[in-house]
């Protein structure tokens, strides 16, 4: 992967974000700062609001109150500098290759560079043999890997991953984790959710723990796993029903 | 310049004639116009519409000439300066048609008004065009001569052309007034038969009108050739020669060539 000067769009600040949908308050007074560098992992039980928080960060949902502020000079630049892999990946009705090509053409990359990047990311995600397959016919894990490859190919400053390993086999999970480390080393900020606590421990520099629409903790990973501050986090780590 | 039909007509000059549906549907124009087109290097584009719509087309300057049968409206066009000229071309006649068993006894009527009166008396189903066409206006005039305002279940307005009205009458076994040309040409008669004809009040005269180039500067001047030809010996003879089942549809009515009024 080429490593050009990345867009400086961090830190990302959320201040007092409130989101209400269908009459329920789904995100309540959510405030945090995501800095350059550390890999931030959002943890929390099902329905905590992790996916909603990622959508808010990416400008896909407008909060009913509060602010979402990127550091970049303008919103367009921030949008170009980030990528999001959805929990339930959306693939276009075309080949795996063309799916990635689509994302790169949106960034107006010239054809030779596009081809080269696509090949690289397909190789990394072990999808190269499936490059010409219709994306929607791939298996669950293959689809998730393709969505990841597509986001990755755009070489973002910030990469949001919503449970990227949920459908991956152990080998792919390991490869993913290695890839994430490499990407991070090259200066890309990683923000991810996961339900695999082992993975969270392996990957996270900092943990954001969410519960029922609230951010209960934002701490260094080591201290979260050894000494969680809140009752909820303790129960969550023990795999207790919250 | 924009490629208007005018530019196209450099190769294929044409004039636009709005003609009563009858003259088109009866096949008369298909018989007549090739004779004209062959010698004048001019094609005639026929718009087959009811008289009301034909008059409207003339007022807006969308056609170059008219062949219609609505004397009152024709005079109004002349008066308003929309048409610069009007020439009688031909006549035919209306007939009363109805079910073959003729429950109203219209066939035994003395004259046309009497025939209608008999239909009204027994309240047999009568279909009126109801569309302000020449035929419709003539029918209304006939009712007026017997001081009847036809109303009730037995009197129905079809609001359609002659052909559609005949299609309906054939199905319903109704009486209706029809012009001879349409009647002779019409295929879907069913049990309908001609019951009354020949009355002077059933005369139907057709005129050709030239749309004034003062009122509408863009009308095609060649239309005059068509108007002149329709009243010529050749055309008049051809009109007489057009028959269906041995019956003449239209009788030539142009006055013998004389000095035209200015």
């Amino acid at each position: 992967m080429p490593q050009p000067e990345r867009l400086r769009i961090l830190p990302l600040r959320l201040e007092g974000v409130v989101l209400e949908l269908g009459g329920a308050r789904l995100l309540d007074d959510l405030s945090f700062v995501l800095e350059r560098g550390p890999c931030s992992v959002i943890l929390g039980p099902n329905g905590a609001g992790k996916t909603l928080a990622l959508r808010v960060c990416n400008g896909l949902l407008k909060p009913d109150a509060g602010h979402v502020a990127w550091a970049g000079p303008d919103a367009a630049q921030a949008a170009r500098g980030r990528a999001l892999v959805f929990q339930r990946p959306m693939l276009l009705r075309r080949s795996a290759w063309a799916n990635i090509d689509y994302a790169l053409r949106l960034r107006r990359l010239p054809k030779p560079e596009r081809d080269q990047r696509i090949e690289t990311v397909l190789q990394e995600t072990r999808l190269l043999p499936l490059a010409s397959r219709p994306a929607r016919q791939l298996s669950g894990g293959e689809q998730q890997r393709l969505a990841l490859a597509r986001a990755w190919a755009t070489d973002p400053s910030v990469l949001f991953l919503d449970e990227p390993a949920a459908a991956l086999d152990p080998g792919a999970t390991r490869a993913l984790e290695e890839a994430i480390r490499a990407v991070r080393a090259s200066g890309t900020k990683i923000v991810m959710t996961t339900h695999d606590l082992g993975q969270a421990e392996r990957m996270a520099d900092e943990i954001l723990f969410m519960h029922r629409g609230h951010l209960l903790e934002q701490t260094r990973a080591a201290s979260f796993f050894t000494a969680p501050e809140t009752e909820e986090a303790r129960a969550f780590l023990k795999g207790e029903v919250l | 310049t924009i490629a208007t039909p005018g530019a196209v007509s450099a190769e294929h000059p044409y004039v636009v004639l709005a003609a009563g549906t009858t003259t088109r549907d009866s096949g008369l124009l298909a018989h007549l116009l090739p004779l004209f087109e062959a010698h004048h290097g001019l094609t005639v584009r026929v718009i087959g519409v009811g008289s009301g719509r034909a008059i409207e087309l003339a007022r807006r300057g969308d056609v170059d000439a008219l062949l219609v049968h609505d004397p009152a409206a024709e005079e109004a066009l002349l008066r308003d300066g929309v048409a610069s000229e009007r020439r009688a071309v031909m006549v035919n006649d209306f007939l009363l048609v109805g079910p073959a068993d003729d429950p109203a006894g219209a066939a035994r009527a003395a004259d046309a008004p009497d025939a209608l009166a008999r239909v009204a008396r027994v309240r047999e189903l009568f279909l009126s065009r109801g569309d302000d066409s020449g035929t419709h206006k003539r029918e209304l005039a006939l009712w007026q001569t017997i001081d009847t305002i036809p109303t009730g279940d037995w009197y129905r307005e079809t609001g359609s052309g002659m052909g559609a009205t005949l299609n309906t009458a054939a199905q319903l076994g109704a009486y209706t007034l029809v012009d001879r040309a349409t009647w002779l040409f019409f295929r879907n008669r069913g049990k309908l038969t001609a019951l009354h004809e020949g009355d002077a009040r059933l005369r139907n005269s057709y005129s050709v009108l030239l749309v004034s180039s003062t009122a509408h500067s863009h009308v095609r001047p060649q239309a005059r050739e068509l108007v002149d030809w329709l009243v010529s010996e050749e055309a008049q003879a051809a009109i007489r020669a057009y028959t269906i089942d041995g019956q003449v549809l239209f009788h030539p009515a142009a006055r013998p060539p004389a000095k035209e009024a200015p």
């Binding site: - | 009301g52 409207e56 109801g130 066409s133 129905r156 079809t158 609001g159």
Partner: protein
Amino acid sequence: MNDLTLAFATALHLILSFDPDLVEIVLLSLQVSGTAVVLAALVGLPFGAAVGALRFPGRRALVVLLNASMGLPPVVVGLLVYLVLSRSGPLGWLGLLFTPSAMVIAQTLLIAPIIAALTRQAIEDLSEEYDEPLRSMGANFPQRVATLLFEGRLSLATTLLAGFGRAIAEVGAVIIVGGNIAHVTRVMTTAIALETSRGDLPLALGLGLVLVGIAIVVNGCAQWIQEVARRAAT
């Protein structure tokens, strides 16, 4: 565009004066086309959904026929119904020709294929996602069709509105089988055709605007019903 102003004025006058003839014609239009839509939906929705959800040999040819049948000319449908209902036709003894019933039959035949063809496409799109899960739940074929119709109800509403639009705007078929008889089978479109042939363009256009207004009201009501339904259920 003086004519247009005149047409609008005519339309306004027609509506405000609440002309009883106009009211009669409007009601008949709504009644005929409304009934036709209901009948066509009863046939077209299940049939289209069945074709959309099922795979069988010859299906592709059937889809071509179904799509082609959206191009059935009203005049042809009108003539066919006319021949069948005519005194000498097989159903002549019913005496339906030149009655509103005949018009309903013609419009139903005209729009059922449209509803079926558009439904087929909508249901085919849905069944990509739904078919296997429903089958795995043990839903039999009629149950799957019913479920797909229900799940696609929002887009099928647009299909029905397309059918309604075609029916209410249609003149070729109803004038042949209805005869445009004043006070019996005269509807909005045949009245417009009549005024056009009379050369009374402002009145014709005015009636046309009233018809468009009716279509808007009907579509507004449909939308409103949908909103209410959406809010009530899920």
